[in-house]
């Protein structure tokens, strides 16, 4: 059970959050211009990394805000949290 440091509320139990999968996947601005393959890439393809992964989480039973999390999936340690729209911390790239 993680402890997640919501950037708006502080440290809370994982049960207050829901996970929203991989972060930094931007919805294409002009979907109609894309081929089936390109659209499928956006729609379906997700990384499943053993190691450092960038994820979206929602404080669904709290402030309802979405934010980003850097998590090492090999030991579940959360290395960093940052708000939507902010750049991912460079040291984990």
């Amino acid at each position: 059970m993680f402890l997640i440091n919501c950037p708006f509320c502080g440290e809370r139990d994982q049960s207050e959050f829901s996970s929203g999968g991989e972060a930094h996947i931007v919805r294409p601005k002009q979907p109609t211009e894309l081929s089936d393959d390109e659209w499928a890439e956006y729609l379906f393809m997700r990384k499943n990394i053993k190691g450092i992964q960038f994820e979206r989480w929602n404080h669904v039973h709290g402030c309802r805000k979405w934010f980003n999390v850097v998590r090492d999936t090999s030991n579940d340690k959360i290395l960093s949290v940052y708000k939507m729209g902010e750049k991912p911390p460079v040291n984990y790239k």
């Binding site: 829901s18 979907p31 109609t32 979405w66 579940d76």
Partner: protein
């Protein structure tokens, strides 16, 4: 009656005699006893039959690792509990226990016949034997296996006990109250860290608390005396909480641990009343110190499972803690020094004993002490066989060869009434590995040790592989100072003297002249697997420890292999010729010891099991005899039976009334989202498939929401309240998810939009009145409101007052009838409803429930998201292309609507079905085919909604069928268990295609 209680100890209160029943017979013990120690004091070793061969089995240990002494406690239907370890159960007045896994009784057991046919029960027996014929599985094999497996009986009635949950936060959690745990807790607490110390026993002190050997001393005192003093000291510390009878069940990530506290299991019946039985502690600790100790290993030799064969250290504890001797003529069989402590203690209490030691020779303080007391020691000998049916009465030993692989010389037969075995010690690394920690292997004494790699968790004491007291204390102090970043000096000058073990010899499977196939060398006592089974599994090609474990069932019983896993690994390594450390171990999973369901669910039982949401009108529905349906957490009226009507009759009546006169539905549960902001219209444009910019203020529009994959996600009517203010409705079940999804897009994809979302589902109550009389009822309720079609047309909205209370009225329809939805602040919902009912009396207003609502909308071919759709239906599949804007550049899911897969013409599409026999009602979920002769039948789709329509006087159904759009008029078949039903594909709209009734 024999009495094996031979001396007084401070832990047994001989002034408090306790009577208890075991297998129907009454015995006596004392306060302080466990069931096991009380049985042993009465001379009872035989406590059960083994799982597979039904061999007589006795008490083996004194703790959580016990594989044999597993009892059924109590006999009441609601309070009986299976699989309780007698070694952990504290004796109390009125305790009723019985042995498990034996029928008709423990002394004469029918399953014992398995012992003689055991060559027929090899490893993988269940997999190999019960495969064929297939039809036998359910009726013959499974009941038979379950009967003879006999792992206790479940209670058949609800548990009347009270259970509790508690969340706590600590700086430091110390698991285990032995010598290292006590030191760690004291150091932490004295350095201002809020500390919790838990121990599963009744008192602290671990195995040091009854230690009484003169060769082991701390500050010139017996180690037990020194420790008692320490315990007194820590009890005074204000920021240390001590919880005894509390065991850690699970160690999850982020130092989140679950502990079970036993509060009343040790109390007599009358003192248990109205008290919490067990409490589940949910602990968050910044740092965790694991001091869980170690478990003595059995030795693997022929017939090592007879009653009267125990772990050597357990014999010691029964003697020095409980004052009970396990025999009068005891042999100790060992490969290490710890059995010598037991031997010396027995000797001092006048119990005859001798030692058989695997080692060629050994020297240490303890051994010198034993020798000087004249205790006979057979060095370099091995036990090769034991005798005695219900209890051991003698054994054979033989000399070991130089390499230890075989035996040499003649057998020596020795008589005894008890055998203690000690195969060394296994550190309890369960907690460490549960927390994600890795292990190292130490070859010298063949133990897995915690690999330190965490800042938040540390192992100290013998669970860290430190076995002698000097080592334990010194290392614990150093490690804790470092781990907690403190500089505690309390133990700086502590002077420890202890015997040091110098010689080791470990043989996992002890040699024997008898071929392995003819021996019974048990590894897992509880699941009855032997060394032979492990070897057979290897022979049959199994290599991975996880596979061997499952194939032989070693380590898979309720004790999870606490005594057996290491031996299984060792034998696999030796047989395969690999180093044991390279094999890895099986995974230790929570719970460490079994938990009751009661503890896990706590108070969340009965009406607290799940949150129940009720509308403001709920009380009225109850008074008016409604049957309720669960929709998500909501209780919704399903139908209102009158005068003993069944569901069908009630729904037929309600449906007819709604179309002939008027019906009223509690629609309060529909999700409501308040949308405000200058970009609200643009936002709706992007989330719905149709266009919203041109919706006039005061108008309503139906919208369909897709997932980005193009599949229908939710639907509902949205009303434009003012320029920048909309009220969206969603399905009852989808409300929370829709809000989440909308928030997601707003916050992450379109943060530039000025839009605010608020869930207002609970803020408003909704009464929906439909039918040809609805306008008259509305007129009565709102005499000043102009209800003319010109002023208040279909799909529009008005604000009105009901006795000065503001209402929002939407003229929208989910039934196809002229229909109004009145929304009012929830606190007035009940009054609104009653006023509607009152006003509707003269117009035959009939309350109807969800079932009638479903029927009415099906007559009109309106879909229900989640019933007629299942996450694989596009708008086009639903024949709803009309609602997908061609002009809009983008909306959620648009691009997916022309992926190669979504434009396939043979997708499953929504159609209507009419049965050839209009009285025949189809079953929802039934499969649809065109040809019943092919095998297997080609399934074209399934029925999604099906009703008997009283308004059309025939059966109607909605279904999804491959290429259904092109099949109108075609005949299809619904094959049922005992008949085939013929149907014809029809339009999805069965009633009033022209929508005349909307303006009736």
């Amino acid at each position: 009656m024999p009495n094996y209680r031979i001396h007084k100890t401070e832990y047994i209160d001989e002034t408090k005699r306790v009577s208890f029943k075991y297998d129907g017979k009454t015995y006596f013990g004392y306060e302080g006893d466990t069931l096991a120690s009380a049985l042993l004091a009465n001379g009872i070793h035989l406590v059960g039959r083994s799982f597979k061969y039904h061999r007589p089995r006795g008490i083996v240990s004194c703790g959580a690792e016990e594989p044999n002494a597993i009892c059924q406690i109590g006999s009441k239907k609601d309070l009986t509990e299976p699989n309780v370890r007698a070694t952990e159960l504290e004796l109390h007045e009125g305790l009723e226990a019985s042995s498990q896994n034996c029928w008709p009784n423990v002394k004469f057991d029918i399953g014992g016949i398995n012992n003689f046919i055991s060559p027929l029960i090899p490893a993988g027996f269940y997999y190999k034997t019960f495969m064929w014929p297939k039809s036998f599985w359910k009726k013959v094999y499974e009941p038979l296996i379950r009967l003879s497996a006999g792992l206790g009986k479940s209670p058949t009635e609800p548990d009347p006990d009270i259970y509790d949950h508690k969340y706590v936060h600590y700086d430091v959690l110390v698991i285990g109250g032995g010598v290292s745990g006590i030191i760690a807790a004291k150091m932490a607490a004295k350095n201002n860290l809020k500390t919790l110390l838990v121990d599963d026993k009744k008192i602290l002190g671990g195995s040091t608390i009854y230690q009484n050997n003169e060769s082991i001393k701390i500050d010139d005192k017996l180690s037990s005396e020194w420790l008692k003093n320490e315990i007194q000291e820590i009890k005074k510390l204000s920021n240390l909480t001590i919880k005894t009878r509390t065991s850690i069940a699970a160690y999850h990530g982020y130092n989140f641990l679950l502990a079970k506290e036993n509060l009343t299991d040790h109390l007599p019946e009358e003192k248990k009343k109205n008290k919490i039985r067990q409490r589940l502690w949910k602990i968050r600790a910044k740092k965790v110190v694991i001091a869980t100790g170690s478990i003595e290993r059995p030795l693997v030799f022929n017939n090592n499972d007879r009653p009267g064969i125990l772990l050597s250290n357990s014999i010691n504890k029964y003697l020095d803690y409980y004052g009970v001797t396990c025999g009068e003529n005891i042999i100790l069989f060992t490969n290490n020094d710890s059995a010598y402590e037991t031997s010396i203690s027995l000797h001092k209490k006048g119990i005859k004993n001798l030692i058989v030691d695997l080692r060629k020779s050994a020297s240490s303080e303890l051994i010198k002490q034993a020798e000087s007391l004249g205790i006979k020691i057979y060095f370099n000998y091995v036990v090769t066989n034991t005798f005695g049916y219900r209890k051991i009465n003698s054994l054979e030993i033989m000399k070991l060869s130089e390499d230890g692989n075989t035996t040499v010389g003649d057998k020596i037969k020795l008589s005894c009434d008890c055998l203690g075995m000690s195969g060394g010690w296994t550190p309890m690394v369960h907690m460490h590995t549960q927390s994600g920690g890795k292990l190292d292997f130490r070859d010298e004494d063949q133990v897995f040790l915690p690999k330190e790699n965490s800042e938040d968790q540390i192992s100290v004491g013998s669970c860290n592989g430190d076995f002698d007291l000097e080592n334990i204390i010194d290392k614990t102090v150093n490690k804790i100072n470092k781990f907690l970043d403190i500089d505690n000096q309390d133990y700086q000058d502590t002077n420890i003297i202890c015997s040091k073990e110098n010689d080791k010899r470990n043989i996992w499977l002890l040699p024997n002249k008898i071929p392995l196939g003819k021996t019974k060398c048990f590894i897992d006592f509880q699941n009855d697997s032997t060394a032979k089974d492990i070897k057979l599994a290897l022979k049959e090609g199994f290599r991975s420890i996880e596979h061997v474990k499952r194939y032989t069932t070693t380590g898979m019983a309720t004790d999870q292999g606490k005594l057996s896993n290491m031996h299984a690994l060792g034998i696999i390594a030796d047989t395969a010729g690999v180093k044991m450390g390279t094999l890895g171990t099986t995974t230790f999973r929570p719970p460490f010891t079994p938990l009751t369901f009661g503890t896990l669910v706590g108070r969340n039982v009965g009406k607290f099991f799940e949150v129940v949401r009720k509308t403001s009108m709920h009380e009225w529905h109850v008074k008016n005899n409604a049957e309720f349906e669960n929709v998500g957490q909501w209780k919704r009226p399903w139908y209102y039976p009158k005068n003993g009507e069944n569901m069908h009759d009630a729904v037929q009546r309600e449906s007819k009334a709604a179309r002939d006169n008027a019906g009223i539905l509690d629609a309060s549960t529909l999700g409501k989202i308040d949308i405000q902001g200058t970009d609200a219209s643009e936002f709706l444009n992007r989330v719905y498939t149709n266009a919203w910019s041109k919706l006039a203020i005061g108008k309503c529009r139906y919208g369909l929401m897709l997932n980005e994959d193009g599949m229908v996600y939710d639907d509902g009517v949205t009303t434009r309240i003012s320029e920048n203010h909309y009220l969206m409705t969603t399905t009852t079940g989808g409300a929370a998810n829709v809000l989440s999804k909308l928030e997601d897009y707003l916050q992450t994809e379109w943060p530039e939009l000025d839009v605010y979302l608020t869930s207002v589902t609970d803020h408003y109550s909704t009464a929906s009145i439909c039918g040809p009389n609805s306008k008259k009822i509305l007129n009565k309720l709102f005499p000043n409101l102009d209800l003319s079609d010109e002023n208040f047309p279909h799909m529009s909205f008005k604000e009105a007052k009901l006795e000065n209370i503001n209402c929002r009225i939407m003229r929208i329809s989910f039934t196809g009838e002229l229909s109004y939805e009145i929304n009012i602040e929830s606190k007035y919902g009940h009054s609104l409803w009653k006023m509607c009912i009152e006003a509707g009396k003269e117009f035959n207003l009939t309350p109807y429930g969800t079932e009638t609502m479903h029927l009415l909308r099906a007559e009109k071919g309106f879909i229900i998201v989640g019933q007629d759709t299942d996450g694989t239906m596009t708008p086009s599949d639903l024949q709803m292309d009309w609602i997908v804007s061609k002009k809009k550049y983008d909306f959620i899911g648009k691009r997916s609507l022309y992926r190669s897969d979504t434009i396939r013409e043979d997708r499953k599409q929504l159609v209507g079905l009419l049965t050839d026999d209009p009285k025949e009602i189809l079953e929802e979920g039934a499969q649809i085919v065109s040809d019943v002769k092919s095998n297997p039948m080609d399934m074209l789709g399934h029925v999604t909604s099906s009703y008997f329509s009283p308004n059309l006087n025939k059966s109607i159904a909605l279904a999804v069928v491959k290429s259904g759009k092109t099949m109108k008029g075609q005949k299809l078949i619904i094959p049922m268990e005992n008949k085939n039903i013929n149907v014809t594909v029809s339009d999805t709209i069965f009633l009033d295609k022209e929508n005349k009734r909307l303006n009736a």
